[in-house]
């Protein structure tokens, strides 16, 4: 162990520690600080211990928002992951089509979140929106995302899928491109069907990128705020009030900083735990009997 003596290499980690401290540790601790106080105004606060946590856990509206959030993220993953894989499989493998499809796929990813909301508000408007007017006037189906909870959900889901499926597709495409050509040759020589090739070569080889895709899409959809806020403001009623919309209502709308702080920490823990579970599960998928 002698060579570790007088080793100042750890000093090199100081910049990272400082950045992490200011970017996450200090803000997080501020939230912890809020969560144990009842704050009336600047300089006026009262230490209340775990009171806020108890409030949050008893809040029926928060429970609703939580289940709504789980349903939303679950649907997003169920639709976006298979759709993304299907898109990646359909994308061209060589020629000018590659760059063309990559650019087209990446376009939605480049648009700011709140702009996405604005685009979709116009898109689904029953009077002038391309989609809204088409469904209402041509198909004759009443569709109004501002009046009906189901329509609001469909719109929010469509928007989310349109916005983020390309990310899954691009990741899956990168995974597919990394598979050496000889694997496909070997499968052909074995007489494997296209399905068997997908199931036993492409899918296992994409496991790494798909794990990342699932984690990213889960986290992002669980934190969704700007798009539904712009689109419906959480309505109609509370039908699209997802967790972060409810959180902002608490913190800014009602200036309930203590409750919002406690809520934030619980929110944070839920995401942390679920990501850990997803990661562990996906890491071990396909390592079992694998028949």
């Amino acid at each position: 162990m002698n060579k570790w003596e007088n080793n100042r290499a750890w000093l090199l980690t100081v910049p990272v520690l400082v950045i992490v401290a200011f970017s996450s540790i200090i803000p997080l601790m501020t939230v912890v600080n809020y969560s144990v106080q009842d704050i009336f105004g600047p300089g006026q606060s009262l230490f209340v211990g775990t009171e806020m946590y108890k409030n949050v856990l008893r809040d029926a509206r928060l429970h609703e928002a939580l289940w709504r959030q789980f349903l939303f993220s679950g649907l997003v993953l169920l639709i976006e992951i298979p759709l993304g894989i299907a898109l990646a499989l359909a994308m061209p493998k060589k020629g000018w089509g590659v760059s063309f499809s990559l650019v087209v796929m990446a376009l939605p990813l480049l648009i700011p979140w709140n702009t996405i909301g604005s685009i979709w508000i116009i898109f689904v408007r029953p009077d002038i929106g391309l989609f809204g007017a088409f469904v209402n006037n041509v198909l004759g189906i009443g569709f109004d995302h501002t009046a009906r909870p189901l329509d609001a959900w469909i719109t929010t889901l469509l928007m989310e899928i349109w916005h983020w499926t390309p990310l899954v597709a691009l990741l899956a495409y990168a995974g597919l491109r990394a598979i050496p050509e000889v694997y496909y040759q070997a499968a052909k020589i074995d007489g494997a069907s296209p399905w068997a090739t997908f199931r036993y070569i492409q899918l296992p080889k994409m496991r790494g990128v798909l794990t990342i895709a699932v984690l990213l899409r889960f986290m992002d959809s669980f934190l969704i705020y700007a798009e539904p806020f712009v689109l419906t403001g959480g309505g109609p009623g509370n039908s699209t009030t997802f967790l972060s919309i409810y959180l902002v209502k608490l913190a800014l709308g009602q200036f309930d900083l203590g409750t919002a702080g406690a809520f934030s920490l619980i929110y944070f823990l839920i995401i942390e735990i679920l990501c850990f579970v997803f990661y562990q599960v996906l890491k071990n998928v396909g390592k079992g009997t694998g028949t």
């Binding site: 050496p180 000889v182 694997y183 040759q185 070997a186 052909k188 020589i189 074995d190 007489g191 494997a192 068997a196 036993y200 070569i201 899918l203 296992p204 080889k205 396909g286 390592k287 009997t289 694998g290 028949t291």
Partner: protein, 360 residues
């Protein structure tokens, strides 16, 4: 069984990968295709497997025209340079996969899988996943997968190139026995002359998409028909010295004189390229009649249990291959001995005129 390629060419994007190849390979002896990287070995195997269609020419298997026959309808197995196994299947399921596709009863599958695994000494690893195996074990699995089904063609594309020296020697020895026991037409590609010599059988020498020479391995080694073949079948490459023959004597380079006796005596006067393999140049005199060449050491590479010594004599560069480890100081002057009885003589365009092994 035999596979016949008749005037087969493969052109991709205007680039000729194979140039009118005519070749007949039979079962019973290992067919080794030797050539440098990009010589067209893999392209040739892909055509035989049916993975690609030739641009021109026809392929016959036992007299049947299989040129346009899709790979799934052919009876072929292939082993690659990379270790290709299904990543999410156990070793057992990997080996069983070609049989499962053909719908054999599971008792037969089990028997064949275990037999193939035993042949390659991986019978204790059957429950493992490929990622849990060493490189050698992964390639053994891939080879077992190719052997489990009795195919008409067994193609191996540089299967041992990614393994370390020790494993390669081990598998080379085992493969010889395995090939001998098969009825299939075995085609094996390699870049290494030593591997080709070890596997024996028939040799096909390829270069730049063409076949340069075919024949029994020892015959090709002893009578490389052109200077290019001589280069491909020798590693390190054969040394060539320009020489002028006049009156029963030859002058190599500027000042090396040799007597044209023995197999050289029939060479008429003229200008030639004299070839001598690195293992026929020595650091000590090997007997009377040796040519002494005083040279300067440029580099000594130690390669396993051999040393390659690169030397220069004026503007001539030579490589010697010596058994054992011979550290040499760069820049030191040494004497190299050559036996004229080991010289190949090529006419200037590169055709073999005299071989130390007599007439081809």
């Amino acid at each position: 069984m035999e596979i016949v390629l008749d005037g087969v060419s493969k052109v991709i994007n205007g680039e000729t990968h194979l140039n009118s190849i005519t070749l007949q390979l039979t079962s019973g002896a290992t067919n080794v295709i030797l050539g440098h990287t990009l010589a067209g070995k893999t392209s040739l195997l892909r055509l035989m497997a049916g993975l690609d269609r030739p641009t021109k020419g026809r392929i016959f298997l036992d007299g049947r025209d299989v040129t346009g026959l899709f790979v799934r309808k052919r009876s072929v197995a292939m082993v690659y340079q990379q270790f290709i196994n299904y990543p999410s299947m156990t070793v057992y399921d990997n080996i069983a996969s070609p049989l499962k596709m053909s719908g054999l009863p599971s008792a037969d599958i089990d028997r064949k899988v275990r037999a193939a695994a035993a042949t390659l000494h991986i019978d204790r690893l059957l429950d493992r996943m490929p990622a849990e195996l060493s490189g050698g074990q992964q390639q053994r699995t891939a080879i077992a997968r190719s052997l489990v089904k009795d195919t008409e063609l067994l193609l191996l594309d540089e299967p041992l190139v990614n393994l370390d020296y020790k494993l390669r020697e081990e598998l080379q020895a085992e493969l010889q026995d395995i090939f001998r026991a098969r009825k299939a037409i075995v085609v094996y590609t390699t870049t290494e002359p030593s591997e080709a010599l070890m596997l024996g059988g028939n040799l096909v020498v390829m270069d730049e998409g063409r076949i340069l020479q075919t024949g029994p391995t020892s015959s090709v080694y002893h009578h490389p028909s052109t200077t290019r073949v001589a280069q491909v079948v020798s590693d390190p490459p054969i040394n060539f010295l320009p020489g002028v023959v006049a009156g029963g004597k030859a002058r190599l380079g500027r000042d090396i004189d040799i007597a044209m006796t023995g197999h050289l005596s029939a060479v008429p006067d003229g200008e030639y390229a004299f070839g001598v393999r690195p293992n026929h140049l020595f650091l000590h005199a090997q007997g009377a009649g040796n040519v002494e060449i005083s040279v300067k050491v440029e580099l000594a590479e130690i390669n396993g249990s051999e040393t390659f010594i690169h030397v220069s004599h004026g503007d001539l560069h030579l490589v010697l291959q010596e058994d054992g480890i011979h550290p040499r100081y760069i820049g030191s002057n040494i004497t190299v001995y050559a036996n004229p009885g080991c010289f190949f003589v090529y006419e200037k365009p590169g055709r073999l005129l005299a071989s130390p092994f007599g007439a081809g």
